[in-house]
Structure formats: structure tokens, C-alpha cells
């Protein structure tokens, strides 16, 4: 041991501790750099029997196939053997070519636990990120991760727009078809609806069997106001649903229309539920109003309360008419109705 300034007994101690378990075994290759000239160490771990002088070096292990003659130093680490053991192979140039095998099972198994934990954590993290993204959209996910948006249990009071969307005549369809068909059909409609909510930075509060409650303005990402975002989303949904219906009709399937109610006002947004199962939701008078408006909107129409209507900076060329409604628990009110002209 030329470089370590250690008395023999300490060197021996270290060797016992670190090297013995590694059961090193080695061969020196002949001048051709391909055949075994000399060997030593404990080969029992790596091969059946001991290698023979004169044999090709790549017979030592299949991973060495085609590697000789090897011009430089080379290392393959943590090769998994058949017996759940791991070994390293080092090729060292020193007056010819030397090949050394060492057993690294115990350290590898320890490292494996750590790597496994890290990788599994990564996989779970990206999975939860994906789920979160599908429920609330990318902008909210980014805010949550940046720490700038937290769902406070006591709730935040803010001005938002709530939109209820419903697939009309679904109950009739439901009763007339097999459950699997019903599921696939409603999912095709919900795909369009939820997609546009997320595209317009809305949050999906809940999905009911045949519709959804969605809110806009919770994260303040709305350049032209939350009301405009909800309205824009509604118009695009109408158009996409119409083309989806055309496709269905061309296949002889029933078409279903959607109706929406949109209202705006103060609400308290936050988390409800026990600590095992929580959900984001919004409470406020206008939330109930939006639900009522939706229930009065015929398929193909949007009903808006006055504050939402007044806040629109761009009506996108649609025509509106006023309607007088008597709503249970709310009383008489004026709302705006738009029978959407498809573009």
C-alpha cells in the first residue's frame, strides 16, 4: 500500500471492514488483451467454477461481450446477477489490462431503498399535480405551489362569478339506455364543458351527474373580468356542444342541449369538509341565484343576472332579451336571456 500512511494492523482493520465483503476477484489479460493470462481472488460469487487461463475474457460475464480489447479504464457498476446480488466490474490498464469483479450487494440494496423512495415520491407528486390540474386548472396549481394561494379553512370573502351548466333531457336519456352507454355519453358532454371552464381559468366546484357548478374569479386571472370569462366559456361550450350534437345526429344518436345560469356577487370561498375529505366550494346569495337561473334556462340558452350582464365588456354580437322571473326563495327579479346564435 504505497500511498496510505497507515500501520499494518489499521490497514488490516479497514480491509476487514470494507474490502472483505466485496470479495474482489481479478484476471490479468495477455498481450492480445482478449484472453486470460493470470487470475486470483474469490470467483465463486461471480461464475460457476473458476475461469481458465487462455479463455476469452468476455466469457467471464455476458455484459463483457465484445468489449475486448479495451484500450482505456472502464467501469460498469451495479450489475444485477441472477441471485439478487449486485457486482461491479472495473477494467484497469496497468502494464496490460486487468479486470476486477467486486460484490456491492449490501451498499446497492441500501441505495436502492433511497432511490426507490425518491422515485416513488416523484411519481406520486406528478400524479397529484395532474389530478389537481384537472380540477382547478394550471394557473391555480402554479399558485398553490408558489405558496401564493392557499385554501383557508375560514374562507376568503371575494367577488366572483358562478356558472351552473346542465345537460338537458339527460334524465330521459338515462332511463332509456344501458348504464355504460349513459356514462360514455355524459362524459363526452362533460369533457367539452369542463375543458372550456379550465381554458377560461374557471374552477370546477362540483360535477353533478349531468352538469357542473363552476366559479370564476377566485384566482384573479381574468383580464376582462370573471363575468366575461364565464360568458366566453359559455359561448364556446354552446358551439362545441352543437358540433358534437351534429356528429351524434349523423350517427343516428340523440342530441342533447345544454343550458346555463350565470350570476355574480360576493361569496365566501374556501374549504369545507373534515380533514379526511375536503372540497373547495363557494357560498353566497348569488350562488343560489345562478343555480335557479340555470334551472330556468332552456337548452341552448344562457340566463344572466343583471350584475353579470352589466359587467360584460364584449357581448360577442349576441342578442339579449330581458325576462321577468319569479324564483323560489328569491322573489321577482329581472334577468337577461341569450338564445345563443352559433358562430
Amino acid at each position: 500500500m504505497p500511498t496510505l500512511d497507515l500501520p499494518k494492523h489499521l490497514m488490516g482493520y479497514l480491509t476487514d471492514m470494507y474490502l472483505k465483503d466485496m470479495k474482489p476477484a481479478w484476471v490479468r489479460l495477455d498481450a492480445s488483451g482478449e484472453h486470460i493470462a493470470e487470475m486470483g481472488g474469490d470467483w465463486s460469487v461471480y461464475c460457476d467454477g473458476t475461469p481458465s487461463i487462455g479463455n476469452p475474457a468476455d466469457d467471464l460475464n455476458p455484459v463483457l461481450m465484445g468489449l475486448f480489447p479495451m484500450p482505456d479504464d472502464f467501469r460498469l457498476s451495479q450489475i444485477e446477477g441472477d441471485n439478487e446480488r449486485y457486482f461491479d466490474i472495473d477494467i484497469i490498464q496497468h502494464d496490460g489490462c486487468w479486470v476486477m469483479f467486486s460484490d456491492v450487494t449490501s451498499i446497492t440494496l441500501r441505495l436502492q431503498k433511497m432511490q426507490q423512495a425518491t422515485n416513488s415520491l416523484h411519481l406520486k407528486y406528478s400524479r397529484s399535480q395532474q389530478i389537481l390540474e384537472r380540477h382547478v386548472g394550471q394557473p391555480v396549481v402554479d399558485k398553490v405551489h408558489a405558496g401564493s394561494y392557499t385554501l383557508k379553512a375560514e374562507g376568503i370573502r371575494q367577488y366572483i362569478t358562478t356558472m351552473f351548466i346542465d345537460v338537458r333531457n339527460f334524465t330521459v336519456f338515462n332511463e332509456a339506455h344501458d348504464a355504460q352507454v349513459v356514462m360514455t355519453t355524459i362524459n363526452a358532454y362533460l369533457d367539452i364543458i369542463l375543458d372550456e371552464v379550465l381554458n377560461h381559468q374557471g374552477i370546477i366546484d362540483k360535477v353533478t351527474g349531468d352538469g357542473a357548478m363552476t366559479v370564476f374569479g377566485v384566482t384573479g386571472e381574468h383580464k376582462h373580468g370573471a363575468e366575461q370569462s364565464a360568458y366566453d366559456a359559455a359561448l364556446i361550450m354552446m358551439n362545441r356542444v352543437a358540433s358534437h350534437n351534429q356528429e351524434r345526429e349523423s350517427q343516428g344518436l340523440e342530441a342533447m342541449k345544454i343550458g346555463m345560469g350565470i350570476a355574480s356577487g360576493e361569496a365566501v370561498t374556501g374549504v369545507v369538509g373534515t380533514h379526511k375529505r375536503r372540497a373547495f366550494t363557494a357560498f353566497g346569495r348569488h350562488v343560489n341565484l345562478a343555480a335557479r337561473l340555470e334551472s330556468k334556462a332552456p337548452g341552448g340558452s344562457i340566463l344572466l343576472d343583471d350584475p353579470t350582464y352589466q359587467a360584460l365588456s364584449d357581448r360577442k354580437g349576441q342578442t339579449f332579451s330581458t325576462v321577468q322571473l319569479t324564483l323560489k326563495g328569491i322573489g321577482d327579479m329581472q334577468a337577461w336571456r341569450n338564445d345563443v346564435t352559433l358562430s
Binding site: 444485477e80 446497492t108 422515485n119
Partner: protein
């Protein structure tokens, strides 16, 4: 008999080990046991009237803190690049690995598998992204180690590319 070394390359957890297990042993497990260094498995396939013995090097997944060492790539005749279709970022990893492969062994036959195609609900590779990948010269398959979709086809295609008739 022709022997060919093939490297399985991709990010961690994309399904490299599962694809080899499906192809060689016709089995699948939901359990994740991350590969440490390399495990070599073999399977013979027939290409025309020739028999090719594929030595499949199932290498650990590339990860920010642990890059795939080039020594594992030396002497390889083909590569199966694997991405996870539910994690689009793993497609970028295959690009990085392909570059490292080419820098190490030159331009050799390779194919790209976008795996876990059975997870339709979580699938996150858009059609336009797929079109762009398919426009490149290497074959691309949507695969599943779980159902076996395109697994056999993929390994055979690579074998054919490695021993052209």
C-alpha cells in the same frame, strides 16, 4: 447465431423493466421496484430465416441526480427509448438520452415507446405532439407493459432494423 446488445433507455418509472418482463417472461406487476444499475435479460427472435439473440440491457432510469453513465452504452447495437404517456416530461428525457447515445456509439437503430397507453384516463400526450414525434425517422409505438399492446411488435421491429436483410 447473431448476438445483439439492446439498451432500454428512459426516465425513471416509465416502465423499462416492465416492458422487458412482458416481452421475455410474459408477465406484469403493478409493484414498482426501481432498477439500480443494469439487469441483462435475453430473448431470441426470428428475423426472416435468421435467429437474433437480443441481449436486453435494462438500465436504471435517468434522473436529475443520476445520469445514465455512457459505459453502459458501449457496444450497443440498438436502443429502445421509453417514455411514460402520463408524464409528458419523460419525452424530453428520451431526447437527452438519444443524444448521449449518438455521441457515444453513433447513429444506431432505435425506436421510441410511449408507454402506459392503458391508462387512457391519465394519458397526457397530445395528438399534435405525437404527430411531431412520428415525423422523425424512428418508429414510435404507443405501448403498454400491462396489456402487452405493441410490446412484441416493438422488439421485433428493432430486431429487423438491427439485422437488415
Amino acid at each position: 447465431m447473431i448476438q445483439k446488445k439492446v439498451c432500454m433507455l428512459g426516465g425513471f418509472g416509465v416502465g423499462k423493466t416492465s416492458l422487458v418482463a412482458r416481452f421475455v417472461h410474459s408477465r406484469f406487476s403493478d409493484q414498482y421496484l426501481s432498477t439500480m444499475g443494469v439487469k441483462v435479460d435475453r430473448k431470441g427472435v426470428d428475423v426472416g430465416d435468421r435467429h437474433v439473440n437480443m441481449m436486453l440491457w435494462d438500465i436504471y432510469g435517468e434522473e436529475a441526480n443520476r445520469k445514465v453513465a455512457t459505459s453502459y452504452l458501449r457496444g450497443t447495437s440498438g436502443a429502445i427509448l421509453v417514455a411514460d404517456g402520463t408524464r409528458p416530461e419523460t419525452l424530453e428525457t428520451t431526447q437527452i438520452l438519444l443524444q448521449r447515445l449518438q455521441d457515444t456509439v453513433g447513429d444506431i437503430p432505435s425506436i421510441l415507446l410511449i408507454n402506459k397507453h392503458d391508462l387512457t384516463d391519465q394519458w397526457a400526450v397530445t395528438d399534435s405532439a405525437l404527430d411531431a414525434l412520428q415525423a422523425a425517422s424512428r418508429p414510435v409505438y404507443l405501448s403498454s407493459a400491462k396489456t402487452g399492446e405493441h410490446v412484441e411488435t416493438a422488439f421485433h421491429t428493432l430486431a429487423e432494423l438491427m439485422v437488415p436483410s
